[in-house]
């Protein structure tokens, strides 16, 4: 990993420093916090040796396939499993009746089962599972299964969900206390209506309906799980599930719960995951059925989702219809923001209760408002359940709000960047909804993108040389956002640490870190390694990370809510520091100096006053092992109650918040309606960059994904698709259109904008070394920045996503016909 001695300048002692001088180490070959080091698993991945879930095979392993519903909403009258069981090579068939226990990621909304019991709620819902000798036989068995349905009223959109009451034929999920509502959240802070009235008289008010379409994660690795029983037959053995999950701990709990086993009899192993983005952050059907089938057959059972099944598993971004009212006074002070939001949730709650909160709670900074109210309702519909996709719940309202800021700036004759600066919340402040914002680099982020994009010279002027570009028009747009670095409250209430790390070192000089955190490609294993290098002064190649195996590693709640670096980082730091103190003490004793005068770095241990005096890490660890016995330490991170003092006030409360700003440059072809996102400048404040290369990777990946949601991606069902003849529309009700990577287009190298990422560092006292999140925040403001740029280019405001060519052309046509005003007046 380290490029070795040649780059070694004056010895640099990581742990002696505080957070900020990390810049000294930003060179290849250095290591520790702030170094642009390689990933711990980089070479392994480059060689193609990393073993993902589907790369495991076991003797006698059976293949599992699922029978899926063809109806959006129907009672299951009968499942005939006999014809399937009669096929030679079929070992077992199960239906929902065999796994009837309900589960759900949020303890208050346990509303789903591994396989449909008694009724199906969306086209593609798993109804039965088979285990057979090979894939061909399993597929044949699935075909042979007969399911008899009795259709119920399909509820395919929010309007229908609202209309239909509690009648059983149109109630999607019995868990709903009222109609088809999963959760309604209504919160208000300050005199919103009075402020809006005042701004109507003197200031500016904008009021519009926005629509954000549904999108999905589309990780390149399909979900895969293997069930194994060892040490005893059936329910007496130890059940192991190997799964491509982001949440091994929750999976562990839910497997025990659904299968009726003690938790101590279940082991979950999460191999490296091939991308997740929130799409693998709760238990899925395949994990339960491979476990059950393995217990029944006594053989290992593997289930690998097809790409179509990955789309059906979904849990992606909720479609949201949002009515926003945003008001500023004449000076551009933001006085009030009010929203009414409908979320189209699909058939199960998933994280939806939290999504409804996040739709409101994460909007109150870093651009702050004086008063704020939101009213968000999530509805059940007969479609695959929506859940958390990168930037959970807060991406959609951020789009609406940041477009409104652009419109207000225009009405007030202000530069939109200036408007945001003027309304910056500040640092170490309490936001209007009671969330505590620590550090925020919003101003630095805005400065960075303003400078890099040459905003002042270019904005509003790119249309000027229109003649050169024929029918194409260019424009620039800006937006900003913030995001949480984990949440103060764990998903299920408990007093235990959210993340634990165990560190072992010994006379060999090697350090092994045991952590329950899930590396899903973001590099959490590398963060652990970096912290070991920083604290114990060892070389990167002498660190091993053992992660996410519930038998071997302490609990970590999982890779979601951008919590890992902050929480796991704290735990690792604590464990490493304990060991460092032991090493320092043992060496100090041998050298007869003070422990503080013993420095650890560059694979050696040095005397502070005489850098000629040094021994290798291994020698130092020997001294420590001789003095203290076997060396090991644990660390844990616990959160403290935080957030607003009202019901729901803790949801969205985070130890630290990141800030982001984007400027996008787009080119709109006014003839074809095609949008080309040419360039995006993005600056993201991640507190302290533990590894800036990884931070840039997160910023770039988020920005790419955000840009795609503007012009490309859309979860379409049934009759929504273009060109579906009316006659077959009804038959296709609730059917996902084109569940493939050809029909659901994600950007290739040719569709992806050039992305210029800057890392801004405003360390936060609540983060390890000051670090905050980087994995989700930089997605949010991409979307409004692009939409605002489209306005700069062609003078049309678009309120609905995605900006497909048809929608873009329709807007341009309306503009020509004078139907759409190019600037919005305050609503009367």
């Amino acid at each position: 990993m380290s490029d070795g001695e040649s780059t070694l300048k004056a010895p640099y002692f990581p742990h002696g420093s505080t957070i900020v001088d990390a810049a000294l180490r930003r060179q290849e070959g250095d290591h520790g916090v702030g170094a642009r080091g390689r990933k711990i698993d980089g070479a392994e991945k480059a060689l193609g040796r990393t073993r993902f879930a589907d790369d495991y095979a076991f003797p006698g392993m059976l293949c599992c396939k699922l029978k899926r519903s063809t109806r959006p909403h129907a009672r299951i009258v009968r499942v005939d499993v006999e014809p399937a069981l009669a096929i030679p090579g079929v070992h077992a068939v199960i239906t929902g009746r065999e796994l009837p226990t309900k589960f759900g990621i949020i303890p208050w909304t346990q509303d789903e089962t591994a396989l449909a019991v008694d009724k199906v709620r969306y086209v593609g819902e798993p109804v039965a599972a088979v285990a057979a000798i090979d894939e061909e036989t399993a597929n044949a068995a699935v075909r042979a299964l007969r399911v008899e349905y009795q259709d119920l009223t399909p509820v395919l959109d929010v309007d229908t969900a609202k209309r239909t009451g509690d009648a059983p034929e149109s109630k999607v999920n019995e868990h709903a206390k009222q109609g088809n509502v999963t959760k309604r959240v209504e919160l208000s802070f300050g005199p919103v209506d009075d402020n809006i009235e005042a701004c109507r008289k003197d200031g500016a008010v904008v009021e519009d309906s926005f629509f954000y379409c549904g999108t999905t994660h589309a990780p390149i690795e399909p979900h895969c799980a293997i069930g194994l029983v060892e040490g005893g037959p059936g329910a007496q053995g130890l059940l192991t599930v190997i799964s491509s999950t982001q949440v091994p701990h929750y999976l562990h709990r839910d497997l025990a719960h659904v299968l009726g086993l003690p938790e101590a009899q279940v082991r979950v192993i999460q191999p490296p995951v091939g991308g997740a983005f929130g799409g693998k952050s709760e238990p899925f059907t395949l994990e339960f059925v491979v476990a059950k089938l393995a217990m029944m057959t006594g053989r290992p059972v593997k289930c690998l989702y097809t790409r179509e099944e990955v789309f059906l598993a979904h849990r992606g971004r909720h479609p949201m219809r949002m009515r926003f009212t945003t008001a500023a006074d004449r000076q551009g002070q933001l006085k009030a923001v009010k929203s009414v939001i409908d979320l189209d949730g699909g058939a199960y709650a998933s994280f939806g209760m939290i999504t409804a909160y996040y739709a409101g709670q994460i909007l109150t900074g870093p651009v702050a408002m004086e008063s704020y109210a939101f009213d968000a309702t999530r509805y059940y519909t007969n479609k695959p359940a929506c859940g958390p996709k990168r930037g959970h719940g807060s991406v959609q309202p951020r789009f609406a709000f940041e477009c409104h800021l652009d419109m207000l700036a225009e009405q007030l004759g202000m530069d939109p960047i200036e408007l945001r600066r003027r309304n910056f919340a500040g640092e170490n402040v309490t936001l209007v909804n009671g969330q505590r914002l620590g550090s925020s680099g919003l101003l630095q982020c805005l400065d960075a993108v303003e400078r890099a994009s040459r905003w002042r010279e270019r904005r509003g002027k790119l249309g000027a040389n229109a003649s050169e570009r024929g029918t194409k028009r260019r424009g620039l747009g800006v937006a900003s956002s913030m995001y949480i670095s984990g949440t103060n409250y764990p998903i299920y209430p408990n007093e235990m640490p959210q993340s634990g790390v165990q560190v072992k070192l010994d006379r060999s000089g090697r350090v092994t870190m045991f952590s329950g955190a899930s590396d899903i490609g973001q590099g959490s294993d590398t963060v652990l390694m970096t912290i070991a290098c920083e604290e114990l002064g060892v070389r990167p190649e002498h660190v091993r990370v053992v992660s996410s195996d519930t038998d071997l590693t302490p609990v970590d709640l999982g890779a979601y809510s951008s919590r890992v670096t902050l929480m796991m980082g704290h735990a690792a730091l604590e464990a490493c520091r304990r060991l460092r103190e032991q090493v320092q003490e043992a060496v100090a004793r041998a050298w007869q100096c003070e422990p503080d005068d013993v420095l650890l770095g560059h694979g050696k241990v040095w005397a502070r006053h005489d850098t000629q005096q040094s021994i290798s890490s291994a020698e130092a660890f020997k001294l420590a092992e001789a003095r203290f016995g076997t060396l090991g330490a644990t660390g844990g991170y616990r959160t403290h109650p935080r957030g607003g003092d009202y019901r729901g006030g803790t949801i969205g409360a985070s130890p630290a918040y990141s800030s982001t700003a984007h400027v996008a440059e787009v080119e709109v072809d006014t003839e074809t309606g095609k949008i080309d996102v040419v360039k995006v400048w993005v600056a993201h404040d991640c507190g302290t960059a533990i590894n800036p290369v990884l931070v840039e990777g997160q910023i770039e990946g988020s920005t790419y994904m955000g840009a795609a949601e503007v012009f490309l991606e859309n979860m379409l069902y049934g009759a929504d698709a273009v060109g579906v003849p009316a006659a077959s529309a009804a038959r296709r009700g609730g059917m996902l259109v084109g569940p493939s990577l050809l029909d659901y287009r994600i950007p290739t190298t040719l569709d992806t904008p050039a992305i210029f990422a800057s890392v801004i560092e405003r360390p936060d006292g609540n983060g390890p070394y000051g670090a905050k999140e980087a994995g989700e925040g930089p997605l949010h403001s991409t979307i409004p920045a692009v939409v605002n740029a489209v306005y700069d280019a062609v003078g049309v405001r678009y309120f609905e996503l995605p900006l497909s060519p048809a929608r873009v052309l329709a807007g341009l046509r309306q503009q020509r016909d004078g139907a759409q005003p190019t600037t919005h007046k305050a609503a009367e």
Binding site: G42, K45, A46, V81, F277, G701, S740, L750, I755
Partner: protein, 183 residues
């Protein structure tokens, strides 16, 4: 419900095929309907080649197949029947590093931080290698074109493009494909 123990069912028509993978010869009994991807992953245990869609949309399964002139071109192994590549030289990610040394493409991908989850990257690096074999000094648009069949969901491609440019500045490892003049 469990069925009594029983043997395999659907009669698969298999054929003995000689596959040349990464310089090694394998005589394998392959089902005629099995793809090269299935045979590589599940029969030869060469699991470095990934399956992201199994239908030609994602590029994760890309391997290199040499033609009669020994030019290696990227091929989607999920759309290629194993029986159709009999006797052709196949390179998978496991064969990219030679003599214990990473190919410059692999090293550059690691160095630039292009490998996030890595699931797309076997295919991506092989596509990049094929490009550099053909055109050792590609321009950025040429790289974008050459990699446009390989979807990556993690990186936003930025560091992948950077890595390919970096790899272009380094010669392929000794014993690798002879550099060709750009067409």
């Amino acid at each position: 419900m469990t069925a009594p123990d029983s043997g395999p069912t659907a009669t698969k028509r298999t054929r003995l095929v000689r596959l040349l993978v990464n310089g090694a010869t394998h005589d394998v009994a392959v089902a005629e309907h099995h793809t090269l991807l299935e045979v590589l992953r599940y029969q030869l245990q060469l699991t470095g080649t990934k399956q992201g869609c199994d239908k030609g949309d994602c590029g994760a399964c890309t391997v290199l197949v040499a033609d009669a002139d020994n030019r290696r071109a990227p091929v989607l192994s999920c759309l290629t029947l194993a029986v159709d590549v009999e006797g052709k030289e196949i390179t998978t990610i496991e064969g990219l590093a030679t003599k214990g040394k990473l190919d410059p493409v692999q090293d550059a991908f690691d160095r630039c931080g292009a490998l996030q989850c890595g699931f797309c990257q076997s295919g991506m690096m092989l596509s990049a290698r094929a490009l550099l074999d053909e055109n050792p000094r590609p321009t950025l648009p040429q790289i974008q074109q050459a990699l446009s069949g390989n979807l990556c969901r993690c990186t936003g491609y930025t560091k992948i493009l950077e890595a390919t440019l970096l790899a272009a500045t380094r010669p392929a490892a000794a014993g690798e494909q002879p550099p060709k003049e750009p067409a």
